[in-house]
């Protein structure tokens, strides 16, 4: 119930077409003090609160000292000192490894990887060390205090190495959690939950929304639970599942579909690992159709996992094959980005063909 109230309690400004047409849905706000913030400011607030409430928490990574390349860490070094907020040299493997070590001694390490595209040198540390530490030590040790933050996703002109969505690689690793917020308000709550969660979390932030998404964000300390998906739009004909920046595109497709008489239910997964199967299952049992959309390439993307699981659970209730509208199976292109991306029209076409199956 609280989540229902929360859902109606904000004013969301979302990015529209490349020419900046905006869509605003305003609803009444309740009495908590809120402030209009964009995504990087919301993340910044969450980090301030995290460092304030736990004296043994640290934020480090490349260039975080002056505020970071996306300004998510502004003001932290000035407020909490260079012993708690500091820059590292250019070595992702080292950064994550150090974070695991700090966390293993009971601290909270909030580590930043400058772009998700650069997370691969740290992949071994995350998969082989962070994810398995508790398991292999029989619960003697753990690095639950580790949170890895990285900006991910397309940004319009990022090309091969500033646009990748690597979430699928990490969803394949039992032992870590993967969390992706869709908006400023969600980001603050989810980040605080991730930092305080007693498991290592990889937190991907949609970089396209850093400045573009503006929302009323409560100023106090609040957490949004992990592994709980949210139905952000109710409908009866088809269930759409997504996360991060892709949700705004899907929402527009839902609006267009509504004009053609198709009622779409839209679910924000929020946590990809472990993901909330029950919510999606309940929704698909109601609508009988499922469409998943993500920016990452379609083959082996996380949509495949959702599709397979839902098929197992809802086979007899499905009216049509599960549809996946995703990035193409190519490296993230430079000039061809508009062709690569799962755009609103692709989603709309897929909605229609699924409903008319």
């Amino acid at each position: 119930m609280a989540s229902l109230l929360g859902r109606f309690c904000r004013k969301l400004v979302v990015p529209g077409s490349a020419h900046g047409s905006r869509m605003v849905s305003t609803t009444s706000c309740d009495s908590e003090a809120v402030k209009s913030l964009n995504l990087y400011s919301a993340i910044n607030q969450a980090l301030h609160i995290a460092l304030e409430t736990d004296p043994r928490s640290y934020v480090f990574g490349e260039d975080v000292g002056f505020g970071g390349v996306f300004r998510c860490t502004t003001g932290l070094a000035e407020r909490f000192g260079k012993n708690r907020v500091f820059n590292t040299p250019l070595c992702e493997q080292g950064i994550v490894g150090f974070g695991i070590g700090l966390a293993a001694m009971g601290n909270r390490a909030v580590v930043e990887i400058q772009f998700a595209d650069y997370i691969y040198p740290a992949f071994d540390q995350i998969v082989n060390e962070a994810a398995k530490f508790r398991y292999r030590s029989g619960n003697q040790f753990n690095c639950g205090g580790l949170t890895i933050r990285a900006p991910y996703g397309a940004v319009g002109h990022g090309g091969h190495y500033h646009s990748q969505s690597p979430e699928a690689f990490f969803c394949h690793v039992p032992g870590i959690k993967v969390v992706i917020p869709r908006s400023p308000r969600e980001a603050k709550g989810l980040l605080l939950s991730s930092i305080r969660d007693p498991n290592p979390v990889v937190f991907f932030e949609p970089k396209w929304l850093y400045r573009q998404a503006v929302e009323e964000v409560p100023e106090h300390d609040y957490m949004i639970p992990l592994s709980q998906a949210e139905v952000i739009r109710e409908g009866s004909d088809i269930t759409l599942v997504g996360w991060g920046a892709q949700l705004t595109v899907m929402e527009q497709a839902c609006l267009d579909a509504e004009k053609e008489g198709i009622s779409c239910e839209l679910i924000d997964l929020k946590t990809l690992l472990p993901w909330d199967k029950e919510t999606v299952e309940a929704s698909v049992k109601k609508t009988g159709r499922l469409l998943i959309s993500h920016e990452a390439p379609i083959t082996g993307g996380f949509g495949a996992e959702i599709s397979a699981t839902i098929l197992e659970r809802c086979f007899l209730k499905l009216e049509a094959p599960v549809s996946r509208v995703c990035g193409l199976d190519t490296p993230f292109p430079l000039v061809f980005e508009p062709f690569y991306m799962p755009t609103k029209n692709k989603i709309l076409n897929a909605i229609k063909s699924t409903v008319n199956y």
Binding site: H157, L328, D329, T330, L334, F336
Partner: protein
């Protein structure tokens, strides 16, 4: 008379020691064809680690120094043009400019052949030009056009030139280092006496993969020359804040190293010549090029939040590579000021023409999105919105 003019004109940075052919200024030859050897002394001595530094006297010629000037002017002009193209949104994505560091590209080329391999980071426009790349191919690639050196699919960070053994431009910091040592490995097998120059920056110098590559290259005596382009800032982080030991030429530990004034094209040439001989006989060597970039890290970085404008203009006044060569040319009477200015005007026109030509090139065909992922006839299927109707199978 010539000698007195020399002493009047030369400043404390250039001390020409001997002129093998001292011609009176009344008889002046055609500047561009004179290959009579001249010896110039570098302003700054080399610092060495585990090896004997090469001599400071560099053998060159009028023609060569003049070509340095022209090539560097062309590179400088290209980068400035790229700057304004980026600002007018014709170049999108990321653009990392090399102006200030031109001496490295031209000096290296003067010491090696086109069969020696070069591999570098994302700051690769001038290296591409040095390898014989055409301006129009560079601009086309920057703007994502078909005419580009990577067919418009790579962009600023991914310039390549196979026929000149230029193994490109890499976006991921440090990733090119083990790759470069791998190229050297292959060259060793081929026994053709060619080497690989692997360029990386001071930021990448802290990557683990550098040390892995150094160890293997040294263990197997590979003809690999690792060149650290130390422009003193890894994006916004100064070297003293990111490296315990900013003596990058010593960080090879058991691998010999040389520190070079990277703003002096002749010093770079000498060092690269020395390094190539060394690598063919004794295995890997690290060269640290002390250089500087005028622009920020990329076009999104103003370059003034982590260093003062005075610092940048100071380097421009005192160490600019093109100005140094200009002074050399003037003091040695190889060219007059007017001739050099005319050359710069020609270069400017060359660049403008190339930009105009590049603008006319079309963007790649949409089907190019799917090509070159796998070799032909391995097949790639891509799916449309619903995967039932649109199946593009590549043969």
């Amino acid at each position: 008379m010539a000698l007195s003019r020399l002493s009047l004109r030369s400043n404390r940075f250039l001390r020409p020691s001997t002129t093998a052919a001292a011609l009176p200024s009344s008889i002046r030859r055609h500047v561009s064809t004179d290959t009579t050897p001249i010896t110039i002394e570098t302003a700054v001595p080399f610092e060495s680690h585990l090896c004997d530094a090469p001599s400071r006297s560099v053998e060159t010629s009028s023609a060569e120094i003049l070509s340095f000037f022209r090539d560097m002017a062309r590179m400088r002009r290209m980068e400035i043009a790229a700057d304004s193209l980026y600002k007018s949104k014709l170049i999108r994505g990321f653009c990392h400019l090399y102006d200030g560091q031109e001496a490295l590209a031209v000096g290296m080329e003067a010491a090696i052949t086109r069969k020696d391999a070069i591999i570098t980071s994302y700051r690769d426009h001038c290296t591409f030009l040095g390898r014989g790349g055409e301006l129009v191919d560079a601009f086309s690639e920057l703007m994502g056009r078909k005419r580009g050196c990577s067919n418009g699919k790579g962009g600023s960070m991914h310039f390549y030139k196979k026929d000149a053994c230029f193994y490109g431009g890499h976006g991921i910091v440090g990733a090119q280092i083990p790759l470069g040592c791998g190229l050297a490995f292959a060259q060793k097998y081929s026994k053709e006496e060619f080497v690989t120059f692997t360029l990386y920056g001071d930021g990448a110098a802290n990557q683990g993969q550098l040390f892995e590559a150094l160890n293997i290259a040294a263990l197997w005596d590979l003809p690999a020359i690792l060149v650290c382009e130390n422009n003193h800032y890894g994006m916004g982080t100064a070297t003293w804040r990111s490296a315990k030991s900013p003596a990058y030429f010593k960080r090879g530990d058991y691998v010999p190293g040389l520190k070079v004034d990277g703003m002096d094209a002749l010093a770079v040439k000498q060092a690269c010549k020395f390094a190539k001989e060394h690598a063919l006989k004794n295995g890997p060597i690290v060269l640290e090029m002390d250089t500087y970039r005028y622009h920020g890290h990329s076009m999104s970085d103003p370059g003034s939040t982590y260093r003062t404008r005075d610092e940048v203009s100071g380097v421009r006044q005192v160490r600019d590579p093109i100005e140094r060569v200009r002074k050399l040319l003037l003091s040695h009477d190889i060219a007059t000021e007017k001739e050099l200015k005319d050359m710069e005007k020609e270069v400017r026109k060359e660049v403008d023409d190339a930009v105009a030509q590049a603008k006319e090139s079309p963007v790649p065909e949409p089907s190019e999105l799917f090509t070159n992922m796998y070799v032909k006839d391995c097949g790639v299927e891509s799916f449309g919105a619903d995967r039932k109707e649109l199946k593009v199978t590549l043969t």
